[in-house]
Amino acid sequence: MKILVANRGEIAVRIIRACRELGLRAVAVYSESDRDALHVTFADEAYAIGPSPPLESYLNIDRLVEVARRARADAVHPGYGFLAENAAFARACREAGLGFIGPPPEVIALMGSKTAARQAARRAGVPVVPGTDTPFGAEATDEAMAAAATAVGYPLLVKAVAGGGGKGMRSVAGPAELAAAVRAARSEAASSFGDPAVYFERRLVAPRHVEVQLLADHHGTVIPFVERECSIQRRHQKVVEEAPSVAVSPALRQALAAQAAALAREVGYTNAGTIEFLLDADGSFYFLEMNTRLQVEHPVTEMVTGVDLVQWQIRIARGERLDLDPERALTPRGHAIECRIYAEDPDRQFLPSPGVIAALALPGGPGVRVDGGVVAGSAVPMFYDALIAKLVVWGADRPQAVDRLRRALAEYRVLGVPTTIPFLRWLVDQPAFHEGRFETTYVDTVLAERRGAFVELSADQEELAVVAAAVYAALRPRAGRAPGTAPSSRWLQAARLEALR
């Protein structure tokens, strides 16, 4: 069996590794700027798919299907992002006779519509946040929307029907803000998703974001897993995820899992998916949305259950029965925390920082896993998401996992591009993080209050840097030249040869 991985970066490497362990051949695809990318060097076969802009390569359905056929691939794994939740891509694969390692296109389309997903949740008996279940298209009048908003109640969120990741979403405190928020959300939704439709949802005060991973096979078995806690977010983007959640009791875990499984059954779900919930301070929870793909944060589930989710995605796609012990899936062994490492500069409002990774030192040791997409010398192109790796730690309990995370972040060094590691080191030392006292607005709140740079040099560190630079220059007289490269001029080459005689 041969699988084409329609993605790049760390997730492409992760999927290729799963293929290797299952004895399958893996086919990589790459854009012009990814010729030397790690996922290409990992694959058994690799094919160019076009210029660097995603629309011309990783989002080009026709090109990907054509390459999959040419490579004689049996199936396509979409990873996350790009076309992973694109029903048209899943359909194109099916029509081309290719397996799609994910749910059927009809289910992707159903759950991709936030309002249709809310309706499905209601049918399954899953509580949803109070809101509107029908979308407001371009024809909706201000009066109709104002009446609907009053019925939902303020504060509320205006959300894109086709949205995700915080795009096309606006918070509204009261009626006076509604019209402007709708206009802004529609505009962003149209440009991001090609669909300006929005709906309203009551904004809960300080909820947590918890989610339930599940696997479902083609024989009717649905297995929900122990929850993931994803409340550490910056501007609605997850930054740190962990499993289990400190806010979820065993009884609540059972309830979350039961509701997630009910919704998966209601929509005929197959393969890996995640159902996201908002968890209120009083323990009540509400369906938020379903991600019909592998999640970035899937490793924390793997670390506390020992289940390889990517391998199971492939095994389910080829028709195998899901024979996991449901109790094992719902019983966390220890505690796992994941940090997303981005090539972004935390001292410049997390500005993406494309460039070349000049040197890299990865953490290791007990309980440490790095799912990376780069090595020293790798380029971080400006065209794609700036995620370069995920650092995942495991501990027998949360305090040990936090200690390991702090240690691993101290070992993790990247030269050449700024990363979010200094921010994560700071975050891990915050008392609220230690104590698990946070909700979805926590990071944005503490960042707004924070003063000073994340990267600061003490006098002792500056002296150490000066000493190091001086002795490096003494050990390598031409310190500015890349190590191992030949002197640039023939005069210098000749002088070196002479000196060696």
């Binding site: 700024p418 002296e463 150490l464 000066v466 001086a470 490096y472 500015g480 890349a482």
Partner: protein, 120 residues
Amino acid sequence: MSVTFEIAINGRPHRVAVEPCGAPGRFRVTVDGRPCTVDAHLVGTDRLSLIFPDRAGAAVTLLVAPDGPSGLMLHLPGPAVRVVIDGARARGAPGGRSPHREGDARIVTPMAGRVVRVLA
């Protein structure tokens, strides 16, 4: 027999003198008049191991990469910094032979290259 550098970090210049001191890799480094002894070894191409024998054996390993013709990127324990090294001025380089020695000298380097034309 020391080499002096001007090293700038975040625009702040430092005057540094480096001289070999006993065992291979051991240097006496004076930063802005403050001396220390350091045992320095390059490990692979991008790691610099430093041990400070007169500071209770403090050991530090840095990640190092060149940054243009006169710069270095260093990752200390904690922050990463860029430094600019303003040329070595050798008073007898650590290795004993310096291509930058001052005064009269005989050029012994052969003129390597390809003859493209002979003017008769």
